[in-house]
Symmetry: C2
Subunit: 246 residues, 2 copies
DNA sequence: CAACCTTTTTGACCTGGATCATAAAAGCGT
DNA sequence: ACGCTTTTATGATCCAGGTCAAAAAGGTTG
């Protein structure tokens, strides 16, 4: 189950796909998917304002979605990890609204929206899955918002780390270690914090022995402690899958 | 065009509906829509954790979507105004994740999701519109997030006021006046600010003669000034409709 | 209209995090 | 391995905004 990124990278529409969608649909999707080769860190996938053509899935690597805030300052809106989709806001606007950039060596695949829509026209299962996918993105976005608004730097970063941990370990990765694909500055920006603050909070976490961190390599020492710190997302009911969007 | 809230309240799927969807679809939707009578301020529409049944549209009034943050403190996640839909996150989770409460005398209508989906099965137009709707919600959510993260109280509230103004005037309402349906505390909470701060910023806006405000009644005196203050949402390309979600 | 309760405003104070500055590490390309 | 650039860490300072407290408006209900 760990070769997920090899087998049906783009097709992991919201985690539980193979069984849910059926082989025929998977085949159709595979046919329309545009597999892009791996690109180097710093490569832009698309730029805000470009006409919307396709939604993208991350196969390997990581993506940041950014906006340029007035002064030209870069503001990170979201990160996208393997198995997640981005560019979805283009559906509404006919243009991409964020610029997306590879954080490391990254491979994405594109699902041209018109074609995707046509396939969906013939497959109710896929339609339902698409709705679920988008709903999940809204949920993620709201969680993020709720976790940031009116909370301390500690809480925000604890939340972010736990969130990244969970999303990274989706394809069966080690659960106690984590290699961050982004800089402290980028991580901070996504939480509305200055890079210096991010760095200091990391130190604090180390001192408290919540994590071990050398550079971008994190080891979780005390998950319970981190969770206590982080904003508790009181998602009632069951555990659910996750998604993201640009 | 101002009796929109009377004619096809629920059906205004993402603003541009009548022409886009066609009369037959409208008729079908009208048939499945559950029109709820107006409820008093403070009435809960649904509670976090309840099983997901329907998505809701606001006909008249206003809704707040809230979460209870650890300590039991209420945190406002979003406001929903006439013409907007909420409860969409339930699609993914099978449960509502926010609690939604009427802020004033409010009428909503419910679109039972299964039925909605069935109608959509027969109408590609509606499918497309639903995708657009959800994409728009993601966009709104991201805008909000970007506008709040790492910006001053002034900027956040200026943004919020302009946003509310725009959304309120959707059905052809006066563009220079605004009756806020929420308290300062609620407005602040949605921006991650303390009520006192919200109040003080309002005073500051008054002194600067950006707005005139007596209680919940706002008059915009200097839109350009407010916009200069607010976080500029560099949405490239065209102007687009708006939406919201719970 | 009076008593009551909620919301808003204002003041005083204090702290979390931004900012500025600089040093120490890491990466990284050659 | 060696510079060079980018990233991270840490210290000092400052201020926006949170918190506590209390008064002043508003609204609501009997």
């Amino acid at each position: 189950m760990q070769d997920q990124s090899e087998v049906s990278p783009c097709l992991a529409l919201d985690a539980a796909t193979p069984e849910v969608l059926g082989d025929d649909v998977i085949e159709r999707l595979r046919a329309i998917a545009v597999q892009h080769g791996a690109v180097a860190a710093g490569t832009r996938i698309f730029r805000a304002g470009e006409p919307f053509r396709a939604i993208y899935g991350v196969r390997i690597g990581a993506i940041k979605a950014i906006r340029y805030d007035g002064t030209g300052e870069e503001q990170v809106v979201a990160f996208h990890l393997p198995g997640e989709f981005f560019g979805l806001t283009g559906i509404h606007s006919d243009h991409y609204v964020n610029t997306t950039v590879a954080l490391e060596r990254t491979a994405v695949c594109g699902l041209p929206y018109q074609r995707l829509f046509h396939v969906a026209n013939e497959h109710p299962r896929l339609r339902r899955q698409l709705m679920r996918l988008m709903s999940g993105v809204i949920l993620t976005e709201q969680d993020q918002y709720a976790a940031m608004a009116g909370h301390t730097a500690d809480a925000r970063l604890a939340f972010l780390l736990l969130d990244l941990r969970e999303r990274m370990s989706r394809g069966g990765a080690p659960q106690d270690r984590l290699r961050l694909p982004m800089t402290r500055a980028e991580l901070g920006s996504s939480a509305g914090l200055a890079p210096e603050t991010t760095s200091r909070v990391f130190q604090q976490f180390r001192r408290r022995e919540l994590i071990e961190a050398s550079g971008r390599n994190i080891r979780f020492l005390d998950l319970a402690g981190l969770r206590r710190l982080a904003v508790p997302l009181t998602h009632p009911g069951h555990g659910t899958g996750r998604t993201t969007a640009a």
